[in-house]
Symmetry: C2
Subunit: 387 residues, 2 copies
């Protein structure tokens, strides 16, 4: 049997089960923001009027309506697409799995940000890639360091990036760097996997066009999701890419699970047709902005002064940097969990190479204002006592 | 980019789009049998009373209730399981994909029936296995031929079988052979993947216990599905196996798509709790038995005498054997589709090795009695004229 290692994410999910623990670990959206009543009405009506179709098999690449709606959305964001260039996925995560299957042979080079999304590495690792990672700052991945990395290592099979409200750091790749990234991809000849599940959750600053909008050579595979806009329990995401790439991913989708849930695709498509997503997003953005501000304020008030955190313009996460020598994983198992009863994700597992122990990812999306303040205050106290 | 070939199944799915064509090609259940109204009532109530949980992320191996219910069902069928030995899947097909990822390294040997389920090969092929296949007769896979194959080739990474109402042939593996199969697995040391999506659809004869019920060494991975009992559009299947195997598959599930739809898991679990599946199955079985009888009778009346077909005791398919030298794929593209306006699945793609061209798979599940008779009569006429 091939070796499959228990993952850090999976272990962390278990904290959710202890009601005493206030968890900032998961990337769960706030369920109070789900448009439950609208979705209920849509599902009820769909099953009443069109139930036999909504419960039957359908085409494996996803129902045409939904693909057309997503193509229109992508086009509106500056990345023109047709429905044939969209593949419906079982959440964005499935895109990472299918891309890995399509592109990675054992030993192939993948370039990621330093740090990068843990779930991406979990999807890529069964295909046994080699990693290089590129430094980040407050403007996202350093394109200069990327260029050096490319000159030293040659082109990767693909570069993986989460440019909007990066997971885990919360930072966003600037416009200038997006353009330079595409130039480098053209020059060195590699594919870019642009993973952007939080894109719609910008609550501050100006929107930056997707990397895909600068792509003139069909090199960018964009992964999107309705998990943070509508509801993750529906498991509806998508890939957008060239016809050739979407065709290949579609065959792998057929092999992987035949298709995404017909009923859930009908539901999301009907929601997009009948409701104003932007109205929903306004409420989502207002809420996450308030929670982010509250988190950063509470951190400033209760944490030791030397702890730094990023100030994201959207998404779900801030990234803590502790003093050198601080081990966030050790502190969590020895103090944060047993004493403060607070969970976060220690930073080390987010690094494909040269893990840095003195970081943690905190999510401000799930907890109520009260529990958010309470949990952070407890954590801050424990950190001060731990010094 | 790794080579991904368009699949025969995918091409066939496109026939469904031409309303003139009467298709016996797909494995679609009869949508008139879906418990639409019950499912509607359940989803509506779930979203009303428990919507925020039903739309949120949940544990990646599947909600505990549903796993416990499936464990109870498996136990009732003679294969005792606990909830920890069940993994919820995005349909049974996902089990094939995850098993392939867990077990197959390039060049590893897989043994299948001759012929075998096309969708299984589509899932296995990206992992680049080698195949050996074992002859079948009306009692299923020949265990004598299997033994010879094992002696000649050594143990495979796993043996893949669809023992109940085999896809594509419709035949069922006998009790004696199931026991012998497990003995051989123990002797030669290999895993058995028992794929049984049609198991509940027996309308004739006596039920045979799952192969897994004879497993004393944790070697059998059982794959089940609600697609043919409730509705395929919900995408709910499962794997049952030893804790160790289910743990490994669960990590691959997390990597592949995080989790199956929370809402759909809630829905199936509530259905199992509140409704009598056996009552539903009685109606399903009555319908498919009638359709199978009608198909076999119409074939006897309208097809050339030398065309043979299997007489399944359940499931969705019968398997045609034409005279030697007949090419079912050629006949379909040149005559059945353009002249008779009838689709089936030509047999050749179901063979991992030494494809036999003189077979076809017909499904009796989807079409109404009228269209079933009409389509087969047209096909029979075309076959007679084609001689």
């Amino acid at each position: 049997m091939k070796l499959v290692k228990p993952s850090a994410i999976r272990e962390l999910l278990q904290f959710g089960e202890n009601p005493e623990i206030i968890s900032f670990a998961g990337g769960y959206p706030d369920p109070m923001l789900f448009p439950v009543e609208n979705l209920r009405e849509i599902v009820n009506r769909t099953l009443k009027n069109n139930g036999r179709s909504a419960l039957q098999y359908t085409v494996s690449n996803g129902i045409p309506n939904l693909r057309a709606q997503i193509a229109q959305k992508m086009t509106g964001e500056g990345a023109p697409c047709t429905a044939d260039e969209i593949l419906i996925l079982q959440g964005g995560q499935q895109g990472l799995d299918l891309v890995a299957k399509m592109l990675i042979n054992p030993g192939d080079l993948i370039i990621t940000e330093h740090p990068t999304f843990l779930g991406a590495m979990i999807a890529f690792n069964p295909c046994q890639p080699r990693y290089e990672s590129v430094e980040m700052d407050a403007s996202g991945m350093s394109v200069d360091h990327l260029e050096e990395t490319l000159k030293r290592n040659g082109a990767p099979k693909f570069l993986y990036t989460t440019p909007d409200f990066h997971n885990p750091t919360g930072v966003t790749l600037t416009l200038v760097r997006r353009k330079r990234l595409v130039e480098l991809a053209n020059e060195f000849d590699f594919i870019i996997v642009e993973d952007s599940p939080y894109r719609d959750l910008r609550y501050e600053g100006t929107s930056v066009p997707p990397i895909k909008s600068f792509d003139t050579e069909g090199r960018v595979i964009y992964l999107g999701s309705f998990s943070k806009v509508l509801a993750p329990g529906l498991r509806i995401g998508w890939a957008a890419g060239s016809k050739k790439i979407i065709e290949s991913l579609g065959l792998l989708k057929l092999a992987a699970d035949t298709q995404t849930s017909t009923l859930n695709m009908f539901t999301v498509s009907t929601f997009l047709e009948e409701y104003d997503v932007n109205e929903l997003l306004q409420e989502i953005r207002r809420t996450y902005r308030r929670k982010k501000d509250l988190m950063l304020e509470t951190i400033r008030q209760t944490f030791p002064q030397e702890v730094e955190c990023t100030d994201p313009h959207g998404g779900l996460f801030t990234w803590l940097t502790f003093e050198r020598g601080f081990d966030a994983a050790k502190f969590m198992s020895e103090t944060a969990l047993p004493v403060a009863k607070v969970a976060y994700v220690p930073g080390a597992p987010f690094y494909p190479l040269e893990a840095e122990a003195n970081h943690a990812r905190l999510s401000y999306s799930l907890q109520s204002d009260e529990l958010l303040t309470e949990g952070l205050t407890r954590l801050g106290k424990a950190l001060k006592q731990g010094r």
